[in-house]
């Protein structure tokens, strides 16, 4: 068991634990914090896959801005009603999701042939320099459209949330 495999398993266990905490906590603030932990662990997983720029963007944008927004809204609305349990609903939903999980995992984890497919990458892979080059040369149109999309979302959110 190499050290990379060990780190991957530790991170995977923590990720699954915090994802389960997200969906099974009664208090939405606890769920949001568990999601922040899950996002952080995801960022570390991105780092192990040679994507440092995306990892830092994940912490900066997702865990640092979007989740703060979620927390603000949760505190603003202050929901204090516990949800009633519906066993048929929960049972069938969990069954459906479990089926989905089993199918996907059996697709991705064949019993034989787990040969790592790692291609050789240069030492610049995942660095801000390379990401910026590709963003501004080949993907410049989606980049500009994404900024317009953010502007539209901003205006829409302000209009929707005004009294």
């Amino acid at each position: 068991m190499s050290i990379e495999l060990l780190i991957f398993f530790i991170l995977a266990v923590f990720l699954i634990a915090s994802s389960l905490l997200v969906i099974f906590q009664r208090n939405p603030v606890h769920s949001a914090l568990a999601l922040v932990a899950a996002l952080f662990i995801m960022a570390v997983l991105f780092l192990t896959q040679e994507a440092p720029m995306v990892a830092v963007l994940q912490i900066f944008v997702y865990a640092g801005a979007i989740m703060v927004l979620f927390l603000f809204v949760i505190m603003l609305l202050n929901p204090s009603m516990p949800e009633k349990g519906h066993w048929i609903w929960w049972g069938s939903g969990s069954l459906g999701a479990a089926l989905l999980a089993v199918e996907l995992i059996s697709l991705f984890l064949p019993v034989h042939g787990t040969k790592p497919l790692g291609a050789e990458v240069g030492e610049n892979f995942g660095s801000p320099k390379l990401l910026a080059e590709i963003l501004f040369k080949e993907f410049v149109l989606p980049f500009e459209i994404a900024s317009i999309l953010l502007l539209v979302a901003l205006i829409g959110a302000v209009v929707l949330a005004k009294r």
């Binding site: 949001a32 979007i66 969990s94 999701a97």
Partner: protein, 100 residues
């Protein structure tokens, strides 16, 4: 070297957990949180495959997925706020009528 399949299986697991969250929870905000969890699982798939193929396109796609997820979370939360102001509840079962 961690095999690619392990990353894909982990991402599928987290995706399924997100699906459970969307289906069984009856609080609009927690549904949105589970949606974000699903988006992140997909991000992990993109990054893992991008690394194994040696191409940067996967990371660029993740960049755009993050941007779109940010915009969607913002608008979704604004909608939830205006729904709450109207119905005083965050239970999706109470919002079944198209006009009230």
């Amino acid at each position: 070297m961690v095999p690619l399949n392990y990353y894909l299986a982990l991402s599928a697991f987290v995706f399924a957990i997100g699906v459970i969250g969307v289906i069984i929870r009856r609080n609009l905000i927690v549904i949105l949180l589970s949606l974000e969890l699903m988006l992140n699982a997909v991000n992990l798939t993109f990054i893992a495959i991008s690394r194994s193929l040696g191409s940067m396109d996967g990371q660029v796609i993740v960049f755009f997925v993050m941007t779109v997820a940010a915009a969607e979370a913002v608008v979704g939360l604004a909608i939830i706020i205006s729904l709450f102001r109207k119905r005083q509840s965050l239970d999706p079962q109470e919002m079944q009528l198209l006009r009230w």
